[in-house]
Amino acid sequence: MILLCMLALASAAFVAWPFIRFAPDPLTKETGLLEALEERDRAVAALRELEFDHRSGKVVDDDYRSLVRTLRVRAAEALKHVDAHA
C-alpha cells in the first residue's frame, strides 16, 4: 500500500513536473509594465496617505519631512519605470 502511494505520488510529480519546473525569469512586457504601473500607483497612494496622516496629526513634522522626500524620489523612479516600459 505504502509502495503504491509512493508510486502514485512519484507519477503525479512526474506528470506535473513540466508545469511546475522553474524556468528563467519569464517577465513579459505585459508583466513588466503592470508591475511598473503598480509601483507608480503605490508611490502616489503612499504620498497621499502621508499627506493625510500629517494633516490628521498621526505623522509629526520631522517624520513628514524625511518621509515625503523618500516617497517623492520613489514616485519619480516609478514614473521613469513606467515610461521605460510603455
Binding site: 513540466p18 509594465l33 503598480e38 500607483d41 490628521s56 498621526k58 505623522v59 517624520d63 516600459h85
Partner: protein, 665 residues
Amino acid sequence: MALLGSGALALALGLYLFAALAGGWAAARNAKRLQRSARNALLAALPATAAATGALVVAFVRHDFSLVYVANHSSRALPLGYRFSALWGGQEGSLLLWLLILAAVAFGAVMLNRDLVDRALPWAVPILAALASFFAYLLVFVSSPFDTQRAPVDGAGLNASLQNPYMLAHPPLLYLGYVGLTVPFAFAMAALLSRRLDARWLAATRRWTIVSWTCLGLAILLGSKWAYGTIGWGGYFAWDPVENAALLPWLTATAYLHSVMVQEKKGMLRVWNVSLVVLTFSLALFGTFLTRSGLVNSIHSFSKSSIGAWFVGLIAVVVLASVALVITRLPLLRARSPQLESLVSREAVFLYNNLLLVAFALTVLWGVLFPVVSETLRGVPYSVGPPYYNFFLRAFGLPLLLLTGIGPLVAWRRASLRSLRRGLTWPAVAALAVGVALIAVGAGTRPAGLAAYSFSSFVLASIAVEFVRGTRARRSLDGGSWPAAFSSLVARNRRRYGGYVVHGAVALLAIGIAGSSISRASVERRLHPGQAVAVDGYSLRYMGTSFRPGANHDELRAVLDVTHHGKRDGLVAAGRNHYHSEAFFGNAVAIKTDWLRAEDLFVIADSFAVDGSVDVKVIVNPLVDLIWLAGVVFLLGSFVALWPDPREELRLARRELTVRKVVPA
C-alpha cells in the same frame, strides 16, 4: 427524484472533469478556444449541481422515503423549515451543499473576472474544476444522497440538536466560509502557475476573501449561540475539535487580510501571503474533514464515515502541490520585494500580528491533533482540554488585542517616538483609567481579566481617536459639516475604516469573553414547588411544571418566578423536549437577557420527578451579550470594508487599459 438527482450529479462530474483536464491542457498550451470551452463547462456545472440539490430538497419536502438519505434524516412530523435544513443533516447532503456552494462561488469568481481569467490566469478554471471534481466524484461513486430503497412508512427523523433556528443558518454560512476560501487559493495558484505575480490576483480575490472570512466568523458566532442555547451547560465555546476547526482558517485568514495590505501598499511579503492562502485553504479542508470523518470525538460531528481517507488524500495533494509550486516560484516571488524599513511602523505591527495569529492557529491545531497523535504513537488518546487553549488564548490573545489598538495609530514605513507618543497618549489614558477604576471597585483581582478590559478600552479609544482625527483632517481639506466630513472619510477608505469597526467588534468580544468567564456566578439545587434559589441578586421561585404537546416533540417545563434585587422580573420556563421520531430528549434552557447590563440569567432544569421536584441550575453570565453584539458590529464593519470603492475600480481599470494599449491581446 433519484434519477434526476443522480443524473444531474453525473453530468456535473463530467463537466468538472472536462473543465479540469481540458482546462489544464489548454492553460499549459495557451489554447484559447479550449480554455473558453473549459470555462464554459465549469459554468455549466452550476445548473447541473443546483438541479441535483433541488431534487434532494424536493424529496425532503415531499417525504420521499424511497431515498435512503431522506428516510434517515427526516420524518413526516418534521416541520417544513427543518426539512430544508435536513439537507445538511448528514454526510451526503453536506457534501452536496459543499459542491453547490463551490459551483456557485466558482461561477461568480470566473464570471466577474472573465477578462483576467482569459488573459492572465487561465489556470484558475482547472484548479476550481479539479476541486469540484473531487466532491462530485465522492457524491457519485462513494457517498451518494440518491441511493434508493423500498420506501418505509416514516423516516428516522432529524438529529434533534439540528432542529434549531440557528442550524438553518450556521452550516450554510460555515460552508460558505470554507468554500469561499477556494477562490483566493485557486487564483493564487493560477498566478503562480502562469508566473503572473502582479497584484491582479489579489484585487480579484480580495472581496471573496473578506466575504468568506465574514461568513466563517459569523458561522462561529452562530454556532456558539446555538451551543449556548441548546447544549445547555451555560457556555458558548468549549474548544471542541470541530469548533476549533472552524476557528483555524478564520485565524489565518485574519492574518492574511492584514498582511495582504502590506503587499498592496509596499509590495512586501509575497511569499508569506501566498503561503497564508495555502495554509488557510488547507485548514478549511481540514475543518470539513474533521466534521465529517469522525476522527475525533465532538458534539458537532453529526455523522461518522469512511470518507476521511479521501479527505486526507485531498489535503495531502493540495499541500504537497502548493508547497512545490511556491518553492519553484520563490525567485519570482522574491524579486523586487522591498525590505522592512523600521520595526516601529504599521507594516511591522501587521507582521507581529501575523506571527501571533499564526502561532495561535498552530497551537490550536496541535491541541486538536494531539489526541490522534498520542493514540497513534502510544495507543492512548490523551485529550487536550480548555485549560490548554485558555492559556494560549491569554498568551497570544492579549498581545494581539493590544496590537489591534496600536496598529491604527502607527504610520506606514516608520514612526518616531514623538509620533507614537502623540498617537498613543489618549488610548493609554483610557486604558489606565479603566484599569484603575476596576481595581478600585474590587474587580481587578484576575490579571488576565484586568488586562482584557484595559486593552479593550485601549482599542476602543484608539478607534475613536482615529475617527476624530480623520474627520477633522477631512473637514479641514474639504470644508462642509462634521457628518459630511465623517462620511467622506469612510467613503474614501472603506477598507481601513470598515476594519476599524471590526476592531471595535474584537474589543466588545474580548470584554464579553472576559466578563462571562471571570465574573460568572452559578448555583445548583433540587427544588420542590414553592421553594426558591438565589444567586447574584436574582431569586427564582419554582412554581410548578407545565407540559405542552407539539407536532414533532413534547415540551416539559419547570416554571420559575424571577425577582431581581427584590423587583419582580417575570417568569422563565426551562426543561426538556422529547422528540418522538428521533426518540431523543433535548435540553430547553431558559435565557432571560438584561440588554442594559448585557447580562443573561441562564436556567437549566433537569431530572423531573413524580413528586414535582426538579434539579435547577441557575447561572448569571455578566457581559455575555456583548459577544452577540460584537457579531452585529463585525457584520457592519465587514459590509463597510466590502462596499465597492469606485475610485479604486477606476484606478485598476486605467491600469489595465494602459497595459492593453501597449501590449494588445
